[in-house]
């Protein structure tokens, strides 16, 4: 374990042991298929309800396993750390949560995730499957010359909102359209103060000097778009909010869900401090914060840093956001 400071046993056992912990901590709400590494809502499948599945590499907790439960996901497939899960998992989860109304795959836009989910959808022949691919990261600029924008913070908001719609009994088509609407109205940008260490790698993915930060990172501990000198929170907030605002673009009079997310190693006190900066920038831009979310929800192991996600909302989206949800990671009204 030299050089790596983690509460783990063998690096290869991290994912399965953490899943065991989830099962032990939430027996009331979750059922965990340890062999296939799938976290199920305890009462899945829900008759008549569209099944919602997501999944991805581990290391982003609480996403996705922590978002399984009433009003959100029916199942989450956990891959190795930062490695998308395999089609077998997605297929098994798809079959298990299908109650006849079909299944929506919520996929973050990464080559691996997209390919594996595609293979799973091809293979799950008996179930009607639609997919939505989230791609809200404005740090990825030239979509034509890249793998396209990454799916980041919007994924959390989407799982909540679409989960509420599925709970209402909407059809697969409607749920998928809503998912697309959410993705289309959301944008994100992230930064890192430190690297993280993939357990199997045993050392930090990149080195950052004491006075440097990475801006335009994703959620896999990868270096960002730019390495810049460390800056005050006020300046960092502007570096994140400005490109987000300019991209959709968000306009004066818009209402948004403002989401300041920690990358895993940043404490809440700093996230609230960042939220203060973000709220001021939005206020100056004439944008109303309809709802907010502050905390570590889509993370990169123990990386220090944060991301800002804005989701432009109308009354429908706010209503679905406010609807009851009962998952280990997000809970209200239930």
């Amino acid at each position: 374990m030299g050089g790596m400071k983690k509460l783990i046993n063998e690096p290869g056992d991290v994912v399965s042991e953490a899943l065991r912990g989830m099962a032990a901590a939430h027996p009331d709400r979750l059922r965990v298929d340890l062999e296939n590494r799938i976290v199920y809502r305890k009462d899945a499948p829900r008759p008549g309800k569209v099944g919602l599945i997501s999944g991805g590499g581990s290391g982003h907790e609480p996403m996705h396993g922590g978002f399984v439960g009433f009003g959100m996901l029916d199942a989450a497939c956990a891959g190795e750390v930062f490695t998308s899960p395999v089609p077998d998992q997605m297929m098994a989860a798809t079959k298990e949560v299908d109650a006849g109304a079909g299944v929506l795959h919520i996929v973050k836009n990464y080559t691996g995730d997209v390919m594996n989910f595609e293979m799973a959808a091809e293979l799950a022949e008996d179930t009607e499957v639609l997919s939505v691919v989230t791609n809200d990261d404005v740090a990825v600029q030239d979509s034509l010359y890249t793998a396209g924008r990454r799916g980041v913070g919007v994924t959390v908001l989407l799982e909540k909102i679409v989960g509420a719609a599925a709970e209402e009994g909407r059809s697969l088509q409607e749920v998928a359209e809503l998912a697309t609407k959410v993705n289309d109205n959301g944008r994100s940008m992230g930064m890192a103060l430190t690297s993280c260490t993939v357990p199997a790698a045993g050392k930090p993915t990149f080195d950052l000097a004491e006075n440097e930060m990475e801006v335009g990172i994703g959620i896999h501990g990868e270096p960002g778009r730019q390495r810049l000198p460390l800056a005050p929170a006020k300046d960092i907030a502007a570096m994140l909010v400005d490109p987000v605002l300019g991209d959709l673009p968000y306009q004066q009079g818009d209402s948004v869900i403002a989401f300041v997310n920690g990358m895993g190693g940043t404490p809440l006190i700093e996230l609230y401090l960042m939220f203060n900066e973000v709220a001021q920038l939005l206020d100056r831009a004439g944008i109303t914060v309809a709802r907010s979310l502050v905390g570590n929800y889509i993370t990169s192991l123990e990386m220090a840093g944060c991301s800002v996600t804005l989701l432009k909302v109308d009354d429908e989206l706010v209503r679905l956001w406010d609807a009851p949800v009962n998952t280990p990671g997000l809970r209200w009204g239930a």
Binding site: E80, T146, E222
Partner: protein, 206 residues
Amino acid sequence: MGVENFVDWLRDAARTLHDNAAYLTELDSAIGDADHGANMDRGFAAIVALLDESTFDSVDELMKKAGMTLVSKVGGASGPLYGTFFLRFGTALAGAELTPATIGEAFKAGVGGILARGKPELGDKTMYDAWAPALEAYDAAVSGGSGLKEALEAAAEAAAKGRDATVPLVARKGRASYLGERSAGHQDPGATSTTLLLESAARTLA
């Protein structure tokens, strides 16, 4: 030339990838997410476990099963890509005699699988930058009358050149593409593992 040789290849490849896991992960740390070594090692360890507990009558069956194992055990980008390579390689060999030519056809089908899944283009700084010149060199060698070993050696050499050529490139596919210009100056991990696989083939298949 038969199943045993392909079993040898897979076992030798597993060893090589295991020995190079930290190196591959280090390459992936620079422009990706630091898991390529662990991914390849996990996938090929599962293939070795499969070889330990099952016997195979035909190369096509073996390679298909190896491909399915990679698809089922690796995940990430490399799982579907390498998995599809082996699946299509095996499928193409079904019922065929094992000759440099039929193996070349299978090779082509496998690379076609990678193209279909990942839609890489030459110069995108992916494993395809090693696969494409390797396939071309193989075909050229076989057309020129070379035997399997020579052809595979030519393929491995071409792969290595392709791998080296990824260094200056700006990535346009996969995770490295998010880095934009910052991806230049780093060797692509997938092109590196592809080269290791083909070097292993040249050592063991003949």
